[in-house]
């Protein structure tokens, strides 16, 4: 039973446009949500996070939105750049708990 779901395995976006990656979760005890970025043959790197007491967190071109009632979060990348092409993993945990990852969404940003 997947507790963290990324239902879109891939997404293709034109350079300069907005990329929106979506993530749903089922465990209402999760109180911390994160996005990781992963290039092929490398380990994931932390991108941005949000705690359950917030509904938005912004860091440069990256913004994460959290809708607790819908158990849904999204990552917005504006503007998208070719270097953003990677697999993006959504992850969640209870505070101080282990990270639970989604299956990932492969983002392709075309010049």
């Amino acid at each position: 039973d997947q507790q963290v779901k990324q239902n879109s395995p891939s997404l293709s976006v034109q350079e300069g446009r907005i990329s929106i990656l979506n993530c749903d979760y089922t465990n209402s005890m999760f109180d911390y949500f994160l996005w990781y970025k992963k290039y092929p043959a490398e380990g994931p790197t932390f991108l941005i996070s949000i705690s359950s007491i917030k509904d938005k967190n912004e860091d440069g071109r990256f913004t994460v939105f959290l809708n607790k009632s819908a158990k849904h979060l999204s990552l917005h990348i504006v503007p998208s750049q070719p270097g953003d092409s990677a697999v993006y993993f959504c992850a969640a945990s209870e505070y101080a708990g282990n990270l639970i990852f989604g299956k990932g969404t492969k983002l392709s940003v075309k010049p």
């Binding site: 990324q6 395995p9 911390y32 994160l34 043959a41 490398e42 380990g43 994931p44 790197t45 932390f46 996070s49 705690s51 993993f89 992850a91 945990s93 505070y95 101080a96 708990g97 282990n98 990270l99 639970i100 990852f101 989604g102 299956k103 990932g104």
Partner: protein, 115 residues
């Protein structure tokens, strides 16, 4: 500064052969250590985690085992590999002093292909 080392980077092993993947962390003490696996189409699955020497928790039943003989060393093993053990294995650590789960740092991974 803290660093995490994982080796080898790639490995091709025949079915039935043993496995040993090693992960070491530098620049920190008493970290939480993790083994994740990324199998084709399955995202990142937590296999084992350890909160201290010889303290291992398994998240999923499988053909693999883990050991932590030293504070900053985490080893993933198998006595007999199966084809289904193929995947990308990632070691990660988390400093207990860091608030929130964004304290995870991942190694560069090992691509294991069982043939």
């Amino acid at each position: 500064s803290q660093t995490i080392h994982q080796w080898p980077a790639t490995l091709v092993q025949p079915v039935g052969s043993p496995l040993s993947l090693e992960c070491t962390v530098e620049g920190t003490s008493n970290p939480n250590l993790y083994w994740y696996r990324q199998a084709a189409g399955r995202g990142l699955q937590l296999l084992f985690y350890s909160i201290g020497i010889d303290q291992i928790s398994s998240e999923v039943p499988q053909n693999l085992s883990a050991s932590r003989p030293q504070d900053r060393q985490f080893i993933l093993s198998s006595k007999k590999l199966l084809l289904s053990d193929s995947g990308f294995y990632l070691c990660a650590w988390r400093n207990l002093g860091q608030e929130g789960p964004d304290g995870y740092t991942f190694g560069s991974g090992t691509r294991l292909t069982v043939v």
